[in-house]
């Protein structure tokens, strides 16, 4: 077990709390950098999906996990990013600018969607974002001058500073690099006043206000940043698939994204990444399992949503912190072996908030 001796306040501000963390994360980075040399291309291609979904997960986590505003329309932001990227790339914009524009366009849309968030709360907000998801889906289908309508758009090959990103390996590094930047950004945000304001709004709007936090302003920032991250992921997504059409950005996609971060573990950056990894891995396992299962089960439609649904129920019932929670427990178990007790992480029930202001 590790005891940290803190001698400076700076220590609590560092991204890595101790040398061990630096070592392990360094090792992880090396392993990820070396992965394309070891693993087959198909595996790498799936990892790219993990990185892209991790970026979406981060965006959604910022809004749902940290600020407590549940959105059921995130596929729409993904679409905004993807179509902006496709449109601008066709017009010969360099990737750096088109990616930034994808983030900005999605972010601005996020502000518009965030406006109802200043008025409505909880389930009503979710319904508003749900409606927004439908509107975007419909608009994308209708605006066939820009989006190609139902026949979709095919993207040209990607080039960064003259270097063609023409293999899975190269795109793997591009998306990994962008993911790392996004993770660092969110980590910075969460150790600064803005992140604390988000968490304050999530836990108690009423006292956040009394602490001088401008609710409208911070909810708007949360929506904009969340949408911008999702837009970045959308741009990567478009390049990954090389072809985008409206049916990739449906309401089902929005719900799946939400389930993804809940399974990963709400309220932590790890949760976003674990969720994405689980999501892609589980899809692969289900596809593989289909061949093994008796046809009566394996060939059923809706097998995948059913399995994810069961997982979601299991997480909500048994491990509200999701995969991150399991990881935390396992790590604690190993760190303090053999002193781990059952129920160490159990929390006492919260007090009733009878006279809470609405």
């Amino acid at each position: 077990m590790r005891f940290l001796f803190k001698t400076h306040y700076e220590q609590d501000l560092e991204l890595f709390k101790h040398g061990g963390q630096k070592f392990w994360y360094g090792l992880l980075l090396l392993a990820l950098a070396a992965a394309p040399m070891v693993f087959p291309e198909y595996f790498i291609s799936q990892l790219v999906f993990v990185w892209i979904y991790s970026v979406v997960g981060l965006g959604l986590m910022l809004l749902v996990g940290f600020t407590g505003q549940v959105s059921l329309g995130h596929a729409a932001f993904l679409a905004m990013g993807a179509y902006t990227e496709a449109y601008l790339q066709q017009r010969g914009w360099p990737f750096l600018f088109s990616l930034a524009s994808a983030a900005v366009v999605a972010g601005l849309t996020g502000i518009v969607v965030g406006l109802p968030a200043l008025r409505v709360k909880g389930i009503y907000l979710s319904i508003a974002t749900l409606a927004f998801g439908f509107i975007v889906e419909e608009a994308v289908t209708r605006a066939d001058g820009i989006t190609g309508g139902n026949s979709g758009i095919t993207l040209g090959s990607l080039e960064i500073f003259g270097l063609p990103i023409n293999s899975e390996t190269r795109f793997y590094y591009v998306s990994l690099f962008i993911l790392i930047l996004c993770v660092l950004g969110v980590m910075n945000l969460m150790r600064s006043p803005t992140g604390r304001a988000f968490v304050a709004i999530r836990d108690s709007e009423i006292s956040a206000q009394s602490m001088g936090i401008h609710l409208a302003r911070y909810k708007t920032i949360a929506f904009a940043l969340s949408a911008a991250l999702t837009g970045i992921a959308g741009a990567l997504y478009a390049h990954k698939l090389r072809f985008i059409s409206p049916e990739q950005f449906t309401i089902l996609q929005s719900i799946e994204l939400l389930i993804m971060i809940v399974i990963g573990g709400l309220g932590s950056i790890y949760g976003a990444i674990f969720g994405a990894a689980f999501w892609i891995l589980a899809q692969q396992l289900i596809v593989t399992a289909k061949d093994w299962l008796p046809p009566a089960i394996g060939q059923q439609t809706g097998l995948q949503p059913t399995i994810f649904g069961i997982f979601l129920v299991a997480v909500v019932l048994f491990e509200p912190l999701g995969i991150y929670g399991m990881w935390l427990k396992m790590r604690t178990f190993l760190e303090i072996f053999p002193f781990y007790r059952k129920g160490m992480f159990r929390r006492q029930k919260s007090y009733m908030k009878s006279e809470r202001l609405k």
């Binding site: 306040y9 700076e10 609590d12 501000l13 950004g185 910075n188 945000l189 150790r191 600064s192 006043p193 803005t194 992140g195 604390r196 304001a197 968490v199 304050a200 999530r202 836990d203 108690s204 009423i206 006292s207 956040a208 206000q209 009394s210 602490m211 001088g212 936090i213 401008h214 609710l215 920032i221 940043l225 309220g267 929390r347 006492q348 919260s350 007090y351 908030k353 009878s354 006279e355 809470r356 202001l357």
Partner: protein, 257 residues
């Protein structure tokens, strides 16, 4: 005498047909502990919510340091130097004690979100400064043990102190305490009394307190305001108020009830 820190002038608020607060006026002087007592539903917490601008008064106004404040948004009140606690504890439960205290410094931040995103040197400097301010509060309230604990894992009595700490971290001029002793045992209540004394004497903060525990009220308050059904019954020292026939009637009921 100096000007009053806070004035309520004929403040009224109506919820539908119910007049929760009806024409209440009082003045709070700098460096005093001003208590509000009254039976349930007397409008004490409602007055707090009006001062914090969570409610807008339907008539009358609240003046802080010579300026009307009722038209301001709730988040702007904190910037003026008014901090408060809540009757049922409104801490940020899934955050550590330290983080809760740091939220109290929110008004003093100078960075914008994009500076936070990049964690610029300026953000780092302010964070360190905030941390020092938060540590002063931790020391003042003896919270060292709980610094890195999640609030949700803390017992009720400690949460109460953390909430007081979070309000103090704002370095307010005026502190509103909504039932600081509710849910606390005898020793904890006594400790709370000492802290309120210290807040007044050492930190020079003016305190308005809503409280039911008359022992605590008489120990710490300079003046007491008794309310019943949204109206002022009487104002005076704790002993005077307790002896007032209207107060006795409000609590125990009149002879003809």
């Amino acid at each position: 005498m100096t000007a009053p820190l806070l004035q309520a002038q004929n403040v009224s608020i109506q919820f539908g047909g119910v007049k929760a607060v009806n024409g209440v006026s009082f003045e709070v002087w700098p460096h005093e502990v001003f208590s509000m007592i009254g039976p349930n539903g007397a409008g004490k917490t409602t007055i707090f919510n009006i001062i914090s601008s969570l409610y807008k008064p339907s008539a009358g106004r609240v003046i802080f340091e010579g300026e009307a404040i009722s038209h301001l948004g709730a988040y702007e009140i904190a910037r003026l130097g008014i901090a408060r606690t809540f009757q049922n504890i409104e801490l940020f439960e899934h955050a550590t004690v330290l983080q809760n205290l740091l939220v109290g410094r929110h008004c003093q931040r100078h960075s914008s979100w994009w500076q936070d995103l990049l964690f610029t040197p300026r953000v780092r400097r302010t964070e360190l400064q905030f941390r020092r301010h938060a540590e002063e509060v931790i020391e003042f309230l003896d919270l060292q043990h709980y610094r890195d604990s999640m609030v949700i894992n803390l017992p009720y009595g400690v949460r109460k102190v953390v909430e007081l700490g979070r309000a103090l971290a704002m370095r307010p001029k005026l502190l509103l305490l909504d039932e600081p002793s509710s849910g606390l045992n005898v020793e904890e209540t006594e400790e709370m009394g000492f802290w309120i004394d210290d807040i007044k004497n050492d930190l020079g903060i003016t305190v308005i307190m809503v409280e039911h525990d008359m022992g605590l009220v008489s120990r710490v308050s300079d003046r007491v305001l008794a309310l019943n059904q949204g109206e002022v019954l009487t104002l005076g020292t704790a002993a005077e108020v307790q002896a007032h026939p209207g107060v006795i009637e409000a609590y125990l009921g009149g002879a003809d009830d």
